[in-house]
């Protein structure tokens, strides 16, 4: 039957068959729950009773009336700064490892490895890292700097910086690989020609590499912003959001499961979605005008 169809139909059939399972999974585990959550945001519900009360838009009104709820977005600024530092580190290593360096493969593996490890495992290990007399304090002691030890997670003035550091460690590898791929797509002739013209390494970076990977930098910026707004995993596991390290998504999860207000929490989740969507649109507009 298959071999009786013409080529065009065969192609269509294969495409559909291949897409069937992924699309089914996407609908079941992403779209249906998202639509359900959107509907929950119009109810008052504790998450398990069979009794939901319709309240219309009052959950949304409560979010915008209450200044505390948005206060946790402040901490996203730390992660945004972390995201920018990540991009700088990733780009630096991508440029470096694009040239003739011995042991390129090993360095690439070392840089990318953190991203492959499960986020929960990383967060748990970094708790030990930041404990009093943990790894961080031991390193400082080795370098003779033990008078600079702090309560890295216990001091609310620096807890967000410690968490930001964990986030940078985890995600730089991803940005690095993307940049490396983009840099490797620059044709060699262009670089050789610039060599002949006597360009220095810095000139090469500034006038050839950066413009070629502009698209990728823009993409990474968009991802960093949306990642910073919806950051959740690392602070939730390391501090539970306590001590001034809470984020908007952590507040949402707590509202749903600690205080049993699933309706309000669903509304908060939709609000985050809107914020991320709007910021992405703004960034895209900004980049389009440039081009």
């Amino acid at each position: 039957m298959f071999s009786n169809m013409n080529y065009k139909n065969q192609k269509k059939l294969i495409l559909i068959l291949f897409l069937l399972v992924p699309v089914a999974l996407l609908i079941t585990f992403t779209f249906i729950p998202a639509l359900n959550m959107f509907s929950y945001s119009f109810f008052e519900w504790d998450g398990f009773s069979t009794n939901k009360i319709w309240v219309g838009f009052s959950n949304y009104i409560e979010i915008f009336k209450n200044p505390e709820i948005f206060a946790s977005l402040k901490n996203s600024i730390y992660y945004l700064i972390g995201g920018l530092i990540q991009l700088a580190i990733a780009f630096y290593f991508a440029v470096l490892l694009n040239t003739k360096v011995k042991g390129k493969g090993i360095f690439k593996a070392i840089l990318f490895f953190p991203f492959l490890i499960n986020g929960v495992a990383i967060s748990l290990i970094f708790i030990f890292f930041f404990q009093p007399e943990g790894t961080m304090d031991s390193i400082l002691a080795l370098l003779g700097l033990s008078k600079y030890t702090q309560l890295w997670l216990g001091n609310e003035n620096i807890v967000n910086i410690s968490l930001m550091f964990t986030s940078i460690w985890r995600y730089s590898g991803l940005n690095f690989i993307i940049f490396l791929g983009a840099l490797q797509s620059i044709p060699d002739e262009v670089l050789e020609a610039s060599d002949i013209d006597g360009a220095s390494q810095w000139n090469k970076v500034k006038y050839i590499m950066i413009p070629s990977v502009k698209r990728v930098i823009q993409l990474n910026l968009i991802l960093s912003v949306s990642g910073a707004i919806s950051v959740y995993e690392i602070p939730y596991i390391m501090t539970g959001g306590a001590n001034g390290s809470s984020t908007f998504v952590i507040e949402t999860v707590n509202t749903a499961f600690k205080f049993n207000k699933v309706g309000l929490a669903s509304a908060m989740a939709i609000v985050v979605l809107m914020i991320v969507a709007i910021s992405t649109l703004i960034q895209k507009k900004f980049f389009k005008e440039e081009a």
Binding site: F48, G134, L153
Partner: protein
């Protein structure tokens, strides 16, 4: 041709993987399998497994235990579905919802129910939905040797002596009190103290009628004041952000930490980690300088039968077998049957100084539901600890910060109370 055969075989093998989840067709009578949900992840492969094997020998019914570490959180989500085991422990729920999820076990004056303590905790209008398998008490788990080295052969029975002993322990280079702030739930001990602090068994039912419940002259305010004194005087862990529950048990067991405010249920867990189990003791915390001790008598979780179970009779039989067994002895609790006396030395030592065990009165007018409704609105998670974590962190910073947090809690409670009462 070879490639085609290979790829067909691969697809066939992988498809078998999908089919592996499917069950078999016919069910035989003696092949009843009961799924029992529990929070006791530490003994599910030992004590509970032994019980299951013994039960199968006696009745032919297979028991499959499922241990959930974050019991309340996980089970509440499962209650949304029809799959929450055949027998399970009852999480924090309003009484009005008991009949939605659980099968009635009988009436309060039934012969097999009337002598069980706390039989009215999970009952509505005389119908009982849940019964507990063990009774404990809230109190202090402490290391006798650490206190002895500080000059106290017996656990202090007045608050002045308590603070003196803790300061002495600190001077000896040990951590006097572990509060486990990071894991949040151990802090709940400090609001459970509200009822014995007040001496009034109707305390929790009356809380929703009060304003400014954390004021320093009110019982809950006094409990938080106790926590403030511990934290602000440096009597707790050095870094509240990186405390570790499992580690803290080992620290009490080995004498690095003096005491923790927990319950009778924790004694066996700490003893099992101690080089010398007799070093571990359990005592009531003094609430004043009168020398008269009171403690919260607590039921362990209530066990219930799911009303979606396919084996309701077998599940109910198992439930009564379990609560009448001596499982409570294996976890160091008192029997739920009020006619049985405990021969456990730790319990005897605990009761020796004349501790009055107070059992909280169960409200019959939806008081508990109201308490939690206002609590959720005010972001005060009763008996779960998150709001207490904020108090602990503020206490570390100073008196002014502590008083600000207390004031905020009072304000939240007052306005939430107004909102909930006005919407009725």
């Amino acid at each position: 041709m070879k490639k085609k055969l290979l790829s067909t075989l691969l697809v066939a093998t992988m498809s078998l993987g999908i089919l592996s989840g499917c069950g078999n067709g016919g069910k035989k009578n003696s092949d009843v399998v009961l799924t029992v949900l529990t929070n006791k992840s530490d003994i599910v492969d030992t004590t509970l497994k032994d019980y299951a094997e013994d039960y199968k020998e006696r009745t032919g019914v297979t028991i499959k235990w499922q241990a959930l570490t974050d019991y309340d959180g996980d089970v509440k989500v499962r209650l949304n579905s029809d799959n929450y085991g055949d027998v399970l422990l009852i999480p924090q729920l309003p009484a009005s919802q008991l009949k939605e999820f659980f099968e009635p076990l009988g009436k309060l004056d039934d012969d097999n129910i009337k002598n069980i303590m706390f039989n009215d905790k999970h009952a509505v209008d005389g119908t009982v939905y849940g019964l507990t398998y063990g009774c404990g008490a809230d109190g202090i788990v402490y290391n006798k040797k650490v206190f002895k080295d500080a000059g106290y052969d017996k656990f202090p029975t007045t608050t002045d002596e308590l603070y003196k002993s803790l300061k002495e322990i600190l001077a000896n280079g040990k951590v006097p009190v572990a509060i486990n702030s990071k894991d949040v739930w151990p802090l709940a001990s400090y609001d459970w103290m509200g009822m014995p602090m007040s001496g009034n068994t109707n305390f929790w039912n009356e809380t929703s009628t009060q304003e400014d419940i954390f004021a320093t002259n009110k019982p809950l305010g006094q409990c938080m004041e106790l926590l403030y004194q511990f934290v602000n005087n440096g009597l707790v862990e050095k870094d509240l952000a990186t405390t570790n529950w499992e580690q803290s048990k080992a620290d009490v067991a080995n004498g690095k930490v003096g005491m923790m405010a927990l319950g009778l249920w924790a004694v066996d867990q700490v003893k099992s980690l101690a080089a010398n189990p007799d070093d571990i003791g359990f005592a009531a915390i003094p609430y004043d300088n009168s020398g008269k001790l009171r403690a919260n008598a607590t039921p362990d979780y209530g066990m219930a039968v799911s009303n979606k179970s396919k084996y309701k009779k077998e599940a109910t039989d198992f439930l009564f077998d379990f609560i009448n067994s001596d499982f409570h002895k294996k976890i160091g609790l008192m029997s739920p049957d009020k006619t049985k006396k405990s021969d456990n030395q730790v319990i005897k030592d605990f009761l020796a100084p004349g501790v009055e065990l107070l059992q909280a009165t169960v409200g019959t007018n939806g008081e508990e539901e109201l308490l939690f409704k206002i609590g959720n609105e005010a972001k005060i998670d009763w008996h779960a600890g998150a709001y207490i974590q904020n108090i602990a962190l503020a206490s570390k910073k100073g008196r002014a910060e502590y008083e600000t947090v207390i004031k905020q809690l009072n304000n939240s409670w007052n306005s939430a109370r107004q909102k909930v009462l006005n919407s009725k």
